[in-house]
Symmetry: C2
Subunit: 239 residues, 2 copies
């Protein structure tokens, strides 16, 4: 009961810690790094401030853990969507699935990834440096995905691959600023994003390739197209 149940159910202490992180993620995604107050985190987590300091050494420690979890959730969901693709998926199919997986986590109710993406440029140098360290692998994943599309001739050769990759990442990361679940379902916006991304990278003169049945049809809003209807798959943040 003391050590045997480590994999069992979260102990109360862990649940409290998680409540603090959830509250911090929510605030961080809405107010930014400097705008997030420990007192607000505590209030949202139904605690007094000193209780928060029982679990974390400092305000920055809380926020750093939030962004780390947010980054991790994003890349885990990207990998899960890639793994769910059939073997005959093209390089372009994989790129679209990856962006959709990322966007899904940015827009989820769980605000960890939104918080991580929104505070990129506001992090203190030391936190930012450690984050970049962790993201090396993720950066390589994205570069490889795009490069595969280039190698297979599926990507407009007139595009600079790095710039295109970053522009599209910005497009999905910025979606928190304007997307509202009341104006359309998550699946709809994922479908639109994928169509836009496929168009953007394919370039002119690229007719619908095999494995892209949904491309030609002008699916009306309300009907989620293609791979966007995949059930959300992601790993919960590890505490």
């Amino acid at each position: 009961m003391t050590k045997a149940d480590s994999g069992d159910r979260e102990r109360k202490s862990d649940r409290t810690r998680r409540r603090i992180l959830d509250a911090a993620a929510d605030l961080l995604s809405r107010k930014g790094f400097d705008g997030t107050r420990v007192s607000e985190i505590a209030a949202l987590a139904q605690l007094r401030v000193p209780a928060v300091y029982y679990y974390f050494d400092s305000r920055e420690a809380i926020l750093e853990e939030v962004v780390n979890i947010g980054d991790r959730m994003a890349v885990d969901n990207v990998r899960a969507r890639l793994a769910a693709l059939p073997p005959e998926a093209t390089a372009m199919d994989r790129i679209c699935a990856a962006y959709a997986g990322h966007l899904e986590m940015v827009l989820k109710e769980s605000a960890y990834t939104a918080a991580a993406m929104r505070t990129l440029g506001q992090l203190p140098p030391d936190i930012r440096a450690r984050q970049l360290e962790h993201q090396r692998e993720t950066g390589q994943l994205w570069r490889d995905l795009i490069q595969a599309g280039v190698d297979d001739g599926e990507i407009d050769p007139g595009l600079d691959p790095r710039a295109a990759r970053m522009f599209l990442l910005g497009a999905v990361n910025w979606a928190t600023e304007w997307w509202n679940p009341e104006r359309g379902s998550l699946d709809d916006i994922l479908a639109t994003a994928q169509r836009l991304i496929r168009n953007a990278l394919s370039g002119p003169g690229a007719a619908s390739p095999p494995g892209t049945a949904a491309q030609g049809a002008a699916s009306p809003p309300g009907a989620a197209a293609q791979g966007a209807a995949l059930s959300p798959v992601f790993s919960p943040p590890q505490l």
Copy 2:
């Protein structure tokens, strides 16, 4: 000499005021709304804090004026680029020129527009409300541009126009996070952005339409394509 030279050269007082705004824009674009300190603004403007309060009523008043100027510079440059197009420009040409004009201001050394775009979600409710009021006209401009493309059949009917518009706006607004002038010229990145945007909106099965000579050629990095080489045109912020 007291009133006759109003249009002449800025008086010293105006120049000092401008130095404060320039400093605030720079800091705001890098540190965000809550991270920008009056003491830092003062230091960057070569002043002590009380001198800053001689020109502005409050910290928020400074920052609000910065974002207003930033928004204004962006839309002014968009309009200037649209006005510079030849009469035979298509709806898609106009859309690309508009995004290029916006992106140009986001990436300019002058940090006003970058500051405005980066702090959208961090503004206090009252400032945000006034900003939205000012932006009504701008929003309509963008909607009209896209709608013209839809009406002319130049835009992929499978795309939701609003979502597409916002995704692409996000792509350009987020460019501050990753673009570095040392890795490529401004004209290059504007050219890449325009190509990506044209691809994204045109959709599959859209061969290069007339008036889009540069589309088919895979211009190597270093050679700015098409309209991107337009000399930067924008109105200076009115003080």
